[in-house]
């Protein structure tokens, strides 16, 4: 099967614009999570990581034509295209991962400035396609919290065929009342900065980020091989993780087998910091005999960035590989899962070759992906 490589990336997050800035911020131990007191988002204060619009607004042509999220997608794609001089011809595919797109327009005063159809993901994707004058239609994926990782996997699958040479995969969601109220109704929001895998974890924080990745069949210096991806449903519950971690277990096993059973140097877990999710992951990893592998969740820095999370965390994992530096999981103090995990507690220089990224989401979906230096 043809190899597919990650040859470039870009991040827009509350910690800054550009992947390098983000890597510097998190290795300095900075978190984007703040107490948010905004009646437009939630009746009570909550903790979240939101992109400050003063960081970037106004950097786009015909700015009033696009929604906030569209502008962020455009900026991220443009940065990637400029930085790597990516030709936008018919051999280039763009994939977009989002859970809710422009849903903030629905029944909100902001919505009145845009046509009603604009809440539809396909319409949003068309706007972005037109902005860049792309020859191929944007492939949009909406598959809950695994969307970002799944989009990488789908892009790889498409590149392994003969039609395309390269792909840009961009993922993102914006935090709106629609989303906050839903997670709040599920009692899934933490009342403090989240603590993935910790004994005292009590829920997740929502976060905003746009993460974009450039995949190619032609490796460049420092390219990373996407050497295995696999996704399995739990077939257990639509909103709760499996108690046995079955789908995640199967995903990890199949991804590692596809990658040739490499030694995994670290794991970038999903680690939302809800009690059930983290417990499920610990069980699945134990079943895979991976409990001793150094592991982090990056949710303590960015919160749960939904459609961006798989991409964002993979990009940061790739930088960790390249820098030979294990990135700590912040918010963790005490073992808090029935199966012990080897949580990374401080920046640790170490020769790194391979990491495993996992994600799980509503609907019982799970995904595991293996990334290797070449």
């Amino acid at each position: 099967m043809k190899d597919v490589f990650v040859v470039g990336d870009h991040i827009i997050s509350p910690l800054g614009i550009g992947s390098q800035v983000n890597v510097e911020q998190i290795t300095a131990g900075n978190t984007a999570i703040r107490r948010v007191d905004d009646q437009q988002l939630c009746a009570h204060p909550f903790f979240a990581a939101l992109i400050d619009d003063s960081q970037w607004d106004g950097e786009i042509e015909n700015t009033q034509r696009y929604t906030r999220l569209e502008k962020l997608f455009i900026l991220s794609l443009q940065a990637l295209i400029d930085q790597y001089r990516i030709p936008l011809d018919r051999r280039t595919l763009v994939l977009l991962s989002t859970t809710k797109g422009n849903v903030s327009l629905l029944h909100s005063p902001m919505g009145r400035t845009f046509p009603k159809e604009r809440v539809h993901l396909a319409v949003m994707a068309d706007e972005i396609q037109r902005y860049f004058g792309l020859e191929n239609r944007i492939i949009t994926i909406s598959n809950a919290c695994i969307s970002g990782s799944l989009a990488i996997s789908v892009a790889r699958q498409l590149l392994q065929g003969n039609d395309y040479e390269r792909a840009l995969v961009v993922g993102g969601d914006e935090i709106s009342k629609f989303i906050v109220s839903g997670f709040d109704a599920f009692q899934a929001l933490a009342d403090e900065p989240c603590r993935p895998f910790d004994r005292d974890r009590n829920g997740l924080n929502l976060g905003e980020a746009i993460a974009a990745m450039y995949l190619s069949k032609s490796p460049t210096d420092g390219a990373i091989n996407v050497s295995g991806t696999s996704s399995y449903n739990d077939a257990n519950h639509i909103s709760g993780p499996s108690r046995t971690g079955e789908g995640l277990y199967q995903s990890i096993r199949a991804a590692l087998i596809e990658a040739g059973e490499p030694t995994v140097d670290f794991i970038s877990a999903h680690g939302t910091a809800t009690p059930y999710n983290d417990e499920m992951e610990a069980i699945a990893l134990q079943r895979c005999k991976l409990s001793d592998i150094p592991l982090h969740s990056l949710k303590g820095y960015y919160g749960h960035t939904l459609g961006a999370s798989g991409l964002l965390e993979t990009i940061l994992g790739i930088h960790a590989l390249k820098n030979n530096l294990l990135i700590p999981s912040i918010g963790f103090e005490h073992q808090g899962t029935t199966q012990r995990l080897n949580i990374i507690k401080k920046n640790t220089p170490q020769l790194l070759n391979t990491f495993l990224k996992t994600a799980s989401g509503f609907g019982g979906c799970n995904i595991a992906s293996v990334f290797k230096k070449i």
Binding site: M1, T99, K100, G101, V103, L106, H107, S108, V119, H120, L121, A122, A125, D126, R137, I139, T140, I141, S142, N143, A144, L150, V154, Q157, L158, Q160, G161, N162, D163, K177, F178, S181, G182, F183, D184, A185, F186, S230, S231, Y232, N233, D234, A235, N236, H237, I238, S239, E246, G247, Q250, A254, G361, F362, G363, G364, C365
Partner: protein, 207 residues
């Protein structure tokens, strides 16, 4: 390289107030009912027994009935059958409901029972539970049914030999009603899995 030998083993179309299996009308009503009422009445008339059905939103209900009928026709769905769906409206009907709850003037209150259905892939989760499918799920969003994308994509998934079967197609349930066309793809069968055949099947009952 393009000699894919995959076939459509069974297909279901749900449109307006009618359900068709492999080209045969299974259920049709002229009555002016809501989509939800039509799907509930179909559930009863088809003799399905799965009480969780009533909790589902219209997208999940329609998908559920289609896959239920396919399983009756083609035999139990194999546990590694991948689910590769697409639509235009994502989970728009549930999104609307959640937003209405949220911005209601009298009693703004979000309901977890509604919120969980504000993701299109929940429909794939529901049928994974029902048919015990441990497999890959992907939900694509397009302007319209796009066999030009789905056929080569599904062929490549099957070529990888991770699975021998896929349920794929178009599961559009939105403000314009229901336009569902789902099919089971596998090795054996009479109808070739090609863009041309799928277009014919999709458009034949599109009147």
């Amino acid at each position: 390289m393009d000699m894919h030998t995959y076939h459509i083993q069974s297909y279901c179309i749900i449109r307006e107030r009618s359900i068709h299996m492999d080209g045969v009308t299974v259920l049709k009503t002229e009555a002016l009912t809501t989509l939800n009422d039509f799907l509930k009445s179909a559930y009863r008339q088809l003799g399905i027994d799965y009480p969780k059905f009533y909790k589902m939103d219209a997208l999940c209900k329609a998908v559920f009935i289609a896959v239920e009928l396919m399983a009756r026709k083609a035999g139990p769905i194999k546990p590694d059958t991948a689910l590769i769906f697409s639509n235009y409206s994502s989970s728009h009907l549930s999104d609307e409901k959640h937003a209405m709850d949220l911005f209601s003037a009298d009693n703004p209150m979000a309901s977890p029972a509604t919120f969980v259905y504000t993701l299109p892939n929940i429909a794939m989760g529901e049928i994974s539970i029902r048919h015990k499918l441990h497999s890959e799920n992907v939900f694509f969003i397009f302007d319209s049914y796009l066999p030009e994308f789905l056929v080569p994509y599904n062929d490549s998934v099957l070529d990888n030999q991770k699975t021998e079967n896929i349920i794929s197609g178009w599961a559009e349930v939105g403000e314009q009603g229901c336009d569902l066309f789902l099919y089971l793809i596998g090795k054996s069968g009479k109808t070739p899995h090609t863009v041309a055949y799928l277009k014919t099947l999709y458009h034949n009952e599109h009147e």
